[in-house]
């Protein structure tokens, strides 16, 4: 598979429609989008820190996954939203055997998303 094809099949990090809408919404206020990204980044870092520290507590995992999912959906971070939903479900079902890998994958998606968002 060529690099271009691989990129085409790669899951998109951002929901373009949502991002476009937020940029339109904030066009009268230059600080709107940077403030959103900063709030998103700050809160996500705290969530990941707590997820790692409380990885054996299903209820906490459920709650943190839910919070990350809601925030990601509001800023159009669609890949992170999907992974956060998986974390949420793992906590809800009490099936935490794969949670470390899931948190790691979500955190990578978060770093990539943050980088893309700061360019907007």
């Amino acid at each position: 598979m060529s690099r271009a094809t691989a990129k085409k099949w790669e899951e998109k990090l951002l929901d373009d429609e949502k991002i476009h809408y937020l940029l339109e919404l904030g066009k009268t206020k230059p600080h709107f989008m940077p403030q959103l990204v900063e709030a998103f980044a700050k809160c996500s870092v705290e969530i990941f820190k707590e997820l790692k520290g409380r990885r054996t507590e299903p209820e906490t995992i459920f709650h943190l996954g839910h919070k990350l999912k809601g925030m990601s959906s509001n800023i159009g971070a669609q890949k992170l939203e999907r992974l956060a939903a998986e974390i949420e479900n793992a906590g809800k079902d009490g099936k935490l055997y794969d949670i470390d890998a899931l948190i790691e994958e979500a955190e990578i998606a978060f770093f990539q998303t943050r980088e893309l968002l700061t360019l907007k």
Partner: protein, 236 residues
């Protein structure tokens, strides 16, 4: 206890998602006051009622927005309360509507939906206030919640105090006799002048808190009248 001196209408938000408040502010072009914990929103005080209240159902492991909706409804009788939820279950939605919420919006926020629902609920709230309230001078009497509001403040009335004030408002500046007030307030039951005077005192105190221009004047031998206070120049 957090107290804010907001002069204009604002959104009151209970949500632990830090993006909700700036997005709603920007979309609805209204300032907001946002809390992430239930105890914070219950301790909140302001001079002016919010335009609308948004409550997230899922807060922390031990806290739900559902827990505070009845108190918020009791305090802000005519303000629309909209629940924000990502829950897909009908149960939590019906529960939130039963506790006093007016509507719900699902996450992720669709701002077109938020705006449409809020406008509709604001229209409902206006109608509800109009049907439930009596305006006189610079005060409004909200009958369902027995509250007198004016000058950015509110005062609670007892059922008897409310009936007395309503009778005086309906008399539109004319004198209401003691006997008529007793009959209207106590439904024809025999009561002493002293009992009536105590209730009139309660209404006077409520007016003192909420009105800059109204007063109840005693006309000895005739009764009471609710009227506009004479201005200082008129007194001189």
């Amino acid at each position: 206890m957090k107290s804010v001196s907001l002069k204009n209408r604002y959104l009151l938000i209970l949500d632990d998602d830090p993006l909700v408040s700036p997005i709603l502010e920007q979309a609805l072009e209204v300032e907001s006051v946002c809390f992430s914990r239930t105890k914070e929103i219950l301790a909140f005080e302001a001079d002016v009622d919010p335009l609308a209240i948004f409550v997230d159902l899922h807060l922390t492991e031990s806290e739900s927005g559902l827990d505070v909706i009845p108190q918020l409804r009791n305090r802000f009788a005519s303000t629309p309360i909209l629940v924000i939820t990502s829950s897909q279950t009908e149960e939590s939605l019906s529960e939130s509507l039963a506790t006093g919420a007016d509507d719900f919006i699902r996450k992720p926020l669709s701002l077109k939906e938020v705006t449409a629902r809020l406008q509709r609920r604001l229209g409902d709230a206006d109608q509800r206030v109009a049907a439930d309230s009596v305006k006189f001078g610079d005060v409004v009497l909200h009958r369902e919640h027995r509250q007198l509001r004016g000058a950015g403040k509110r005062a609670e009335l007892s059922p008897l105090g409310q009936r007395i004030l309503q009778a005086l408002i309906e008399a539109k500046g004319t004198v209401v006799s003691r006997e008529k007030l007793k009959k209207l307030a106590w439904n024809g039951r025999a009561v002493t002048d002293n009992a009536l005077d105590r209730k009139v005192y309660e209404v006077r105190q409520a007016l003192k808190e909420t009105s800059r221009c109204l007063q109840i004047t005693t006309l000895y031998g005739s009764g009471f009248v609710l009227e506009v206070k004479p201005s200082k120049s008129e007194v001189a």
